[in-house]
């Protein structure tokens, strides 16, 4: 047992009965005997405990209850007035929001099971197959060109990199706009949000370098490391150093930005959940989808990064599955608890339906618009996760809904 383990144990000894308390206790005591520093630490801890025991409980103010009850009575009166005002609408299953969303859910399911949806799924499976280490070692790359699915036909060439970067940039900018508006705070923490841009720039720059290296091979954008053997030693050395440095910078930036981004996104989503604005939810889902999808395409170009593509695809798949569950649950709760959605919600549902129908009618567009399904799913999935995990403003919304309500 080292100092840290011993201290952790001594702080909450009875907490882990399964770990073999007596043995752990013996080890901790042995450590204490041998470590003067930890003995001093324990003495200080005991002093802290004694000091804590001496801290008196505060008495609430004498009028605390009276004030609470005054506010509670006002709330109760408000609610009664609201109930009296609310006209009796049609039953929940005939309300427009429910009908529209149910239709969308049905369309989304149909789309998922359609040839385009299945192709996209099988494409993802093919990507998974391409990640087989044995396939990596083979001289010929796995046949990814000519696939029918979402990414099969996508092989970036020079100018496409620009397109995809524009796509990523748009996604990021959209996110930034929403986040800065939603979080209502600027200044230093706002600047942190620019980190995603920096990260994307790093990714794109390294992508550009790789692309430039690949351009040396007239056959096309084959991954450059396969060409390394044919180039001069100096070039190879410089390229490797450059890639390593950029990779390091990129990874750091990505790690930082993911942290800042997640934190900020969570805060914004909390507010969105609080506002229950359908348009807002939709936009966040859309921008995030564009961002993720762009990154997925970008990563797909270079074999070592393909694992990231796969991770993104799998993540999106999981999120969309969760999204369906969260969506249905949210629809049920909205309709049952709030008495039908507002106009924005209805418009969103109709727009989502239109996108899905379009995707069904045009198989080629459909492969890209398969996205349409994921957009709403992703948005709702994130919201669902936020509610599920219970982070932030509306955390107590995660508390199970009670039937008697």
């Amino acid at each position: 047992m080292n100092c840290r383990q011993a201290r952790q144990y001594l702080l909450s000894p009875a907490d882990d009965p399964a770990v073999g308390t007596t043995r752990a206790a013996g080890e901790a005591e042995a450590h204490l005997r041998s470590c003067a520093e930890c003995r001093a630490w324990r003495a200080a801890e005991e002093q802290l405990d004694r000091a804590l025991l001496g801290v008196p409980q505060e008495d609430p103010p004498a009028d605390f209850k009276a004030n609470v009850m005054r506010r509670v009575r006002a709330l109760a009166a408000e609610r009664r007035a609201e109930v009296a005002r609310r006209p009796a609408g049609p039953p929940w299953w005939r309300r427009p929001a429910f009908v529209a969303q149910a239709a969308c859910a049905a369309a989304a399911l149909a789309l998922l099971l359609s040839p385009a949806g299945l192709a996209a799924l099988s494409d993802a499976a093919r990507w998974a197959g391409a990640l087989d280490p044995a396939a990596h070692l083979a001289v010929t790359p796995p046949p990814l060109e000519g696939g029918t699915g979402l990414l099969g036909a996508v092989r970036l060439r020079g100018q496409d990199v620009v397109l995809v970067s524009v796509m990523c940039g748009l996604g990021l900018l959209g996110n930034l706009l929403l986040l800065s508006r939603g979080a209502r705070q600027r200044g230093r923490r706002g600047l942190k949000c620019l980190l995603p841009l920096a990260a994307a720039a790093a990714i794109l720059a390294s992508g550009g370098l790789v692309q430039a290296a690949a351009a040396q091979d007239p056959a096309g954008p084959a991954p450059p490391w396969r060409n390394l053997g044919e180039t001069s030693d100096t070039f190879r050395f410089v390229l490797l150093i450059a890639l390593t440095v950029m990779g390091g910078c990129g990874l750091t930036a990505v790690a930082l930005c993911v942290r800042a981004y997640c934190r900020r996104l969570t805060a914004t989503l909390d507010r969105v959940v609080a506002q229950r604005s359908g348009v807002y939810q939709f936009l966040i889902g859309l921008f995030n989808f564009v961002l993720l999808f762009g990154l997925a395409i970008l990563f797909a170009q270079y074999e070592p990064l393909r694992i990231l593509t796969l991770l993104i695809l799998v993540g999106m798949g999981v999120l969309s599955a969760l999204g369906f569950a969260a969506w249905i649950r949210a629809v049920g709760r909205d309709v049952l608890a709030l008495g039908g959605g507002g106009r924005a919600e209805l418009a969103c549902a109709l727009a989502g339906g239109a996108v899905l129908v379009l995707a069904l009618l045009l198989p080629i567009v459909g492969q890209i618009l398969w996205a349409g399904l994921l957009v709403q799913c992703l948005g709702t999935a994130l919201l669902g996760l936020v509610q599920r995990l219970g982070v932030g403003v509306e955390r107590d919304a995660a508390v199970p809904v009670n039937d008697q309500g």
């Binding site: 002093q47 000091a51 804590l52 001496g54 801290v55 409980q57 509670v72 979080a183 805060a267 008697q404």
Partner: protein
């Protein structure tokens, strides 16, 4: 816990939901001390603690229909209270100019807990309480919360983890860090012999 009225929490909640708003007073009676103390330890002064405490009860009232009577009301309420105080601190931090880049630094750190006039025999405890309160105010909010839950409200690490909705090991790490930080901040208190009468601290 019940005072006078022997109805269980779930029965009281049912009565409130059925329209007996006054029955809510029983719930306030039962938990006001807990809630107020939690809020006080979290926000660091009585005025804000009163506001936060009232808001928590109002929130409880508004969300009462979501309560699952099969579970203890206390846990649900404490969870709500934990979330609410964290959110309150976050809102306050956002509202005050964020010139300080340190994460999770509560504004409350700058308002030392106000010590109400108290009998002489409580002075020592009050003083240590004020020092500990000020030191608590400098902890990140989540560490402060689990620390308060575990060492001032008497929950185990397991229960505290449940209340704040974080994994148990995370909670243990927070508490570990909180204790380290508190000991470091209160080092001057401990180096000298334990607080004796007449010991002056500004």
């Amino acid at each position: 816990m019940t005072q006078g009225d022997q109805r269980s929490d779930a029965e009281v909640v049912r009565a409130v939901l059925a329209g007996d708003t006054e029955a809510f007073g029983l719930i306030v009676d039962r938990y006001e001390r807990r809630i107020f103390n939690l809020a006080y330890r979290m926000v660091g002064n009585r005025a804000d603690a009163e506001d936060v405490g009232q808001e928590i009860f109002c929130r409880l009232f508004q969300n009462l229909h979501r309560y699952d009577p099969a579970r203890p009301l206390e846990n649900w309420l404490m969870r709500m209270a934990s979330n609410h105080t964290l959110n309150w601190l976050e809102r306050k931090r956002v509202a005050t100019v964020p010139m300080d880049p340190r994460e999770g630094e509560p504004g409350a750190a700058h308002d030392p807990p106000d010590a109400a006039p108290s009998p002489a025999e409580y002075t020592e405890g009050r003083e240590a309480g004020a020092l500990i309160g000020a030191a608590l105010g400098r902890l990140p909010a989540n560490q402060r919360l689990v620390f308060v839950l575990m060492y001032m409200e008497g929950y185990t690490a397991e229960e505290a983890a449940e209340l704040v909705g974080a994994p148990r090991n995370t909670v243990k790490t927070w508490v570990f860090r909180a204790r380290e930080a508190l000991r470091a901040q209160l080092a001057h208190l401990f180096e000298s012999p334990p607080l004796g009468p007449g010991k002056e601290r500004s």
